[in-house]
């Protein structure tokens, strides 16, 4: 499904990703953990080309998205992304947030987009909020709308960048619930998170990153109870 080969990324002098190799299979849920600044966000952002790539190749369903001839907007419609800061469009209502891209990018008819949007709102448990503006929502609700918005493009893969870090603790659960549901339905997902409970319960694999490298990767049960690397151990001791 996704294949990342020898990915390198520098910001000026600063090499942030140093030779990353990852393969993600269809329907797999990969959780990425690691200390602040280790390159987790940059890694996700490279996958849908929000960052240009310095070296290496990324294939999504066999298509080389690092190739100049690839239509990147097309690629992005297949890769949904959810941000820590939600990034809802504040000048549009919830349903308009969801419908915008299907209508403008996929050229879906308005009615159809709305129908699909309402269905997604039902899925994230917020159909009653269709016509309010994002400002009047709680953080947890905003993030669930952001997930619905990404799903409206019917992506094949979903990328989550710390989707619960900006939330009040009592709202973390509702967002994780939606993500668990998504995983259960077979969505391919890469999730950067500090929610170890989620990683344990839903993750098929956990990747621990530090200093721009993948230091260790393993199934959750192994990595949490029996980390092989010293750095993994010391990190986990702090956050568990």
């Amino acid at each position: 499904m996704i294949k990342v080969e020898q990915l390198k990324k520098s910001f000026g002098e600063n090499e942030v990703l140093k030779n990353i190799n990852v393969e993600v299979k269809s329907r797999e849920v990969v959780v990425v953990i690691g200390p602040s600044g280790s390159g987790k966000s940059t890694f996700l952002r490279c996958i849908n080309r929000l960052e240009s790539i310095t070296e290496g190749r990324i294939y999504i369903e066999g298509v080389d998205i690092t190739d100049k001839t690839t239509d990147i907007n097309q690629v992005r419609t297949e890769v949904g992304m959810v941000f820590q800061q939600f990034n809802l469009f504040p000048h549009k209502t919830v349903i308009e947030n969801i419908m915008l891209s299907p209508i403008k990018v996929r050229k879906v008819a308005k009615d159809q987009a709305r129908e699909k949007g309402m269905e997604l709102l039902r899925k994230v448990g917020l159909e009653d909020k269709a016509n309010v503006y994002p400002d009047s929502l709680s953080g947890g609700q905003k993030q669930r709308i952001a997930i619905a918005r990404a799903l409206a493009m019917e992506p094949k893969i979903m990328l989550f960048d710390e989707p619960t870090s900006a939330l009040d603790p009592e709202m973390v659960g509702e967002v994780l619930e939606v993500m668990k549901q998504l995983a259960k339905e077979g969505m391919t997902m890469i999730v950067v998170t500090h929610e170890m409970g989620f990683a344990r319960e839903v993750g098929d694999r956990v990747i621990f990153m530090d200093g721009g490298y993948i230091v260790e990767e393993n199934v959750p049960s192994e990595i949490f109870t029996n980390p092989k690397e010293e750095r993994t151990k010391s990190f986990l001791s702090k956050v568990l």
């Binding site: 929000l50 800061q85 469009f89």
Partner: protein, 218 residues
């Protein structure tokens, strides 16, 4: 100090006509300036230096030289090229528009750049092109933030339009000067004119504040 109300009364109809032209000049200046300014502002944001440099120069010239000179250049240099004669009002509108476009361009630029980067990233991640993201996501939000400084630009233009009197466009200051030269008196015409300007700017500020507040609660 004696203050001759009679000559103010005598000139009242002219001052009124002048005020209307002052308003007309400022309104057309800010409207045309806004349209031009949007393009110039977008032009300045372009990363490619070669494309953006004419816009940068435009802004530098119109913000870096006195409006007085710009009015003269437009009046004697630009307008005759098109309509084969000079016309103070046309020159006034053009000069004020070109001048305010430079300021509006900066307002647009900073308005656009004040929108959180996350908005553009979210739009792009949903498959929108840069142009689509600008059109549907960034600009609609920027417009709201642009309204207050745009209003201030309008107020500034209102006062600056007094300079157009040098090319004999019969706006408020033109009639104040006419009054001044006829009677050789300074206070009556200029204090009256400044009072009118003050009323205009205060009313505008008030309306602007209300608009801002309404936008904020929306």
């Amino acid at each position: 100090m004696d203050f001759r109300l009679d000559i103010i009364v005598e000139y009242a109809p002219f001052l009124l006509k002048g005020t209307l032209l002052t308003l007309g000049l400022s309104i057309s200046g800010v409207l045309i300036g806004t349209i031009l300014g949007l393009f110039i502002g977008l032009g300045k944001i372009i990363r490619n230096r070669i494309i953006s440099s004419p816009f940068v120069c435009y802004i530098a010239f119109f913000r870096g030289t006195p409006l007085f000179v710009q009015v003269l250049i437009v009046h004697f240099g630009v307008v005759p090229l098109f309509i084969h004669e000079t016309n103070g009002i046309v020159a006034g509108i053009i000069a004020l528009s070109l001048n305010s476009a430079a300021y509006v361009a900066e307002i647009f630029r900073s308005g656009i750049q004040s929108i959180d980067k996350g908005q553009m990233e979210a739009s792009r991640s949903l498959g929108m092109t840069h142009v689509q993201a600008m059109k549907y996501v960034i600009l609609p939000q920027a417009f709201k933030r642009i309204i207050p400084p745009l209003g201030n630009e309008f107020i500034a233009l209102l006062k600056d339009s007094s300079i157009v009197s040098v090319v004999a466009a019969p706006e408020l200051m033109y009639w104040a000067t006419a009054m001044n030269t006829q009677y050789g008196r300074v206070w009556e015409p200029y204090l009256t004119a400044s009072l009118i300007y003050l009323v205009l700017t205060l009313v505008l500020s008030f309306l602007l504040n209300r608009l801002e507040r309404r936008l904020a609660t929306e």
